[in-house]
Every structure is written in structure tokens, then in C-alpha cells.
């Protein structure tokens, strides 16, 4: 019973996605059955559209920028949380999480007012800042639970042996927490590629992939939107699968290396 229910649940989650994927290959412009055969014309139209290529480039710039910023800030946070204790740790962890406890709408309008008051014109830079605010909490959350078990005495041993703090981090801590950090960084890329609740407010005249899809949807229903949606879906899912592989493969390799040195 409960197993059947779970299968139905998964069907409900994936059926709509499967349907838009199917019609992105439709030979005709209609988005309904009967299905009239396969064609890749909507994808060709999409990749020949300069609007799409611009949006894709912008999305890539923003995703890279916010992932780098998120990784830098998030690694500092993770290292800090490992060393903190008690109430201060709880308060700092809460502050890290707070931006996503509020709906994207609030972040978006708060940033609009802030950027306007400090006189920063809206551009891809403001989009990167907005996205970082959104991806940073996810980064810290996904890294935190894994780093709870990190043994700080490794680092202390390196320091006692005369390594500088930076050298101890580079030679001892980073190789251990690296895969987790890399996985979370790739996750940030995926989150940034899809983000638009904040982007709508903090962008100037630049469009990103989701913004382009949103404006296409306002105009008409067309299989080109299906193609754009499927493209975005494939990119995001590929990124997540890569993140998962990076995290597990690196850990396996480390375990193997450790086993070899033990022998």
C-alpha cells in the first residue's frame, strides 16, 4: 500500500516534467495529444535565437560569480562553525540560515531598496550578490552536517609541527573537506541557474535563462518554451549528478588511498 503510494507520489512529481519534455520534441506547434511525430526544430530555433544565447551567457556568468563568492564565504563559515561552541555557534548558524527562512520576495525588494539608496546601479553584479544571499545558506547547510565530524586535532598537530595557519589549512584541512566543499559549490551553481524570484527585482536590463522563459511565457505558449525548459532541466540535473559524483568519488579515492598507505 504505502509502497504503491510512494510510486504514485513519484509519478505525480515527474509526469508533468515528462510531458513538457515530450512536447519539446513535437513535430507540430500544438501542445496536446494526439502526438504528431518527433522533431528537433524547437531546439534548433532556440539555439539560433540570440536572446537565448545572451540569457545563457548571463546565467553562466551569474552562476559562476555567485558560486565562487558562495564558496569563499561558505568555507569561512564552515571553518568558523567547526571552532565555535554553544550559544554563539547557534546564533551564527541561525544567521547563516536566515536569508532562506524569508521568502525570495522579501530579499528581492529589500535589496532593490538597498541598492537604490547606496546608488549601486542594477546589473549582473547586483544579481550575483542577490544569488549569493540565496545560495550561501544552502551551501553552509549542506557542508555543516558533514563537517561536524571533522577532527580539529589534525590541524592542531600540523600547527604544533610548525605549519602556518594557512599552510595547515592548505595541506591538512582542505584535502579532507575539499570534496564536500566542491559538491556544495556545484550545488550553488545549480541553484543560481534556476533562481528568479530574487533576480526579477535585482536585475537591470540583463536577462537570465529563467527570466527569458518567464517573459516568453507571458507572451504565448510555444514548444520553444518547452525546449528552453528542458534545456535548463538537463543542465541543472547534470550539474547535480556531477556534484553527487564529485562528493562520492573523491571520498572513495581518499578511502582507497588510506587503505593503501595502511598496507
Amino acid at each position: 500500500m504505502i509502497r504503491l503510494f510512494t510510486y504514485l507520489y513519484m509519478f505525480f512529481l515527474y509526469a508533468p516534467i515528462a510531458i513538457i519534455a515530450l512536447f519539446s520534441f513535437h513535430a507540430s506547434a500544438s501542445l496536446s495529444f494526439p502526438f504528431e511525430g518527433f522533431s528537433t526544430q524547437w531546439y534548433e530555433a532556440l539555439f539560433h535565437s540570440s536572446d537565448f544565447m545572451t540569457a545563457l551567457t548571463n546565467s553562466a556568468i551569474v552562476a559562476a560569480g555567485s558560486a565562487i563568492l558562495t564558496t569563499l564565504l561558505g568555507t569561512f563559515s564552515a571553518l568558523a562553525l567547526m571552532r565555535m561552541k554553544g550559544r554563539i555557534k547557534a546564533v551564527f548558524a541561525f544567521m547563516n540560515f536566515a536569508p532562506i527562512a524569508l521568502p525570495g520576495l522579501f530579499l528581492g525588494i529589500a535589496l532593490v531598496i538597498f541598492f537604490s539608496l547606496i546608488g549601486l546601479p542594477r546589473s549582473l553584479l547586483t544579481v550575483i550578490i542577490g544569488h549569493t544571499l540565496f545560495t550561501f545558506p544552502f551551501f553552509v547547510e549542506s557542508v555543516r552536517s558533514r563537517l561536524e565530524y571533522f577532527d580539529l586535532s589534525f590541524e592542531e598537530a600540523a600547527r604544533d609541527l610548525g605549519a602556518s595557519p594557512l599552510k595547515a589549512f592548505w595541506l591538512v584541512t582542505l584535502p579532507i573537506i575539499g570534496p564536500t566543499i566542491a559538491g556544495a559549490a556545484i550545488l550553488a551553481v545549480a541553484l543560481s541557474m534556476d533562481e528568479f524570484l530574487i533576480t526579477v527585482f535585482v536585475t537591470g536590463s540583463d536577462t537570465t535563462l529563467p527570466l527569458m522563459i518567464l517573459s516568453m511565457m507571458r507572451r504565448a505558449v510555444s514548444p520553444t518554451i518547452n525546449a528552453a525548459s528542458v534545456f535548463m532541466l538537463v543542465v541543472t540535473i547534470a550539474i547535480i549528478v556531477i556534484a553527487g559524483l564529485v562528493m562520492t568519488l573523491r571520498r572513495r579515492r581518499l578511502e582507497l588511498e588510506r587503505a593503501e598507505t595502511a598496507e
Partner: protein, 311 residues
Amino acid sequence: MNVVNNSEPIILDSQASHTDQRGKVDKKILSGYWLASPPLFFLVVFFLIPSVMLLVASFWTSKTFSMAPAATLSNYARALSASGFYDSLWIALQNGFWTALLSTVISAPVAYYIVYRTRSNAVLYLALVSWFSSYLVRVYAWRSILGTNGVINSTLLHLGLVDQPLEWLVFSKFAVVLTLVHIMLPFTLLLLVSGLRDIKKDYLEASADLGASGATTLWRVIMPMAHKSIVSSFMFTFVLAASDYVTPQLLGGRDAMTTGLVIANQFRSVGNWPLGAAMAYLLLLVFMLVYALLLGVLRAANLAPGKRYHD
């Protein structure tokens, strides 16, 4: 009793080691503060200050797409005196309530299945992957499925089951809630699973061994221990669904103006930022009231006993 006896010496141990290396521990914590300062700086500048500015701006006066400093309550007065605000709030709360209720109820059995019936995380991961398929893509999917020329209507027409497309399928409250449930499910599931993970299977087995039926175990064992995660998954889903401004816009039709959409429009098309800011804080206040109400109802129904049950 056993648990208490076992845990006490451990606590003493850790306290002892604290005092032993006091100097070292302090140094470690101090370096923690230094490391925390860059992210803290970022959060203060781009999150805390903007949030405070949004609050301050709600007391300012509006110039189109800009603002003038003032100390007026007129924005709040204006929002609260317009009947449209209450209508939008009512629609937003309904969207939030039905979405949160349905998502939680539908996800609970699946969370139970994931935690107690299967050892693999495949179902959870698969659900989470669908969460990363863009929100917008899923709104679009439902629009093309429910639309008057959409998959459902055209199939029904083709089969001769209806003469005219079913209008209520799209641009209706039904379409908005269905889509929001679809969007929120993986998120609700994740929160419920992490809540259930804390309740060991032993408790369930003990309850069954003592002769409790499945329903009794659910109400008297699982619910009191899981209520916190159920409430938090309900509230998070509620807040995200109630403040959504894209689904109602694309699937809700003309009379589906939610407060989130009204606020968004103040910033995108109307240009009255202080009014939008005031509405945003009113909406936050309403969310807090809903949270308090929810806790009150659960306490009255005896489903949320004090902390003693799960510590």
C-alpha cells in the same frame, strides 16, 4: 532511566576536558570569530541592513520608483484601509494553507516509507532532483497540461468525454494550489524525513509489542515526537506558498491577486516602494500570527506536549 545513567558521565568527561585545556579552547574559539567575520560582514551588509532599510522605507513617502525620508504611518494606513489588501491576503492565506496541508499530508506517508520501510535513499534523492527542476519550468508544465488547449482538455475533447474544454482547470484556485503542491512536495518531504530520522524504529516496535495498533502508535508515539518537524515543514511550506507571486500570476486568472503579487507589482510596475515595504512587513506579521495560531491549536488538541517527550 538507563539513558540518563549512561549520559551523565559523558557530560562530566567533556566538562573536565574543557577545564584542562582552557587556554587552547579559548584560542580555538577566538580563531572561529576571525573566520566568521567575512561571511558575517556579507550577511550584515547585504541581508541585515537591507532588511532594516526595508522596514525604515515603510515609514517613508513615495516618489515614483524612489522615496523621500519621512516618519509617516500613511503607508500602513493606506494598505489597511484598502479592501483589496484584505482580499489579496485572504487568497494568499488560502493558497498557503491548502498547499501546506496537502503537501504535508501527502508527503508524510512517503517520509514514513523512506525512513522505516526502505534502507535506500533512492526515493528521497529522486524527489530532491525534481525539486531542482526549476520552479518556473513546473509552473509552465502545469499551464500546458491544464490549459484550455492543454493536454487534459484536448484529450477529453478528443475522446468525446466533454463537449467544451473544462474552464476551471486553469486560471483557478485549483490550478494554483495543485501547482504549488507540486512545487513544494520535495521540500516538505525533506523536512519531514529529517524529522522522522530522529525517531528510532525501536520506539515504534516497543509500542507495537505493548499491543498498540498502528493508529495508536501514530497518534501517541510518532506525532508527539515528530510534531516539531511537522509544524516546521507545514510553516515553511505555508510561508513559501502564501508569499508566492509567480504561480498566481501565471495560473491564477484575474481574481487571484495575492499579497505577494501586489507587493511585487509595487516594485515592478506601480513604483510605490514604501507602500510595498509596508505591505511586506504586514505580511510577515500575519505569518507570525499564523505560526502562533498553529502552535495554539496544536497545544489545545494535545498534539504538541512540552519538551519532555522528545529530549
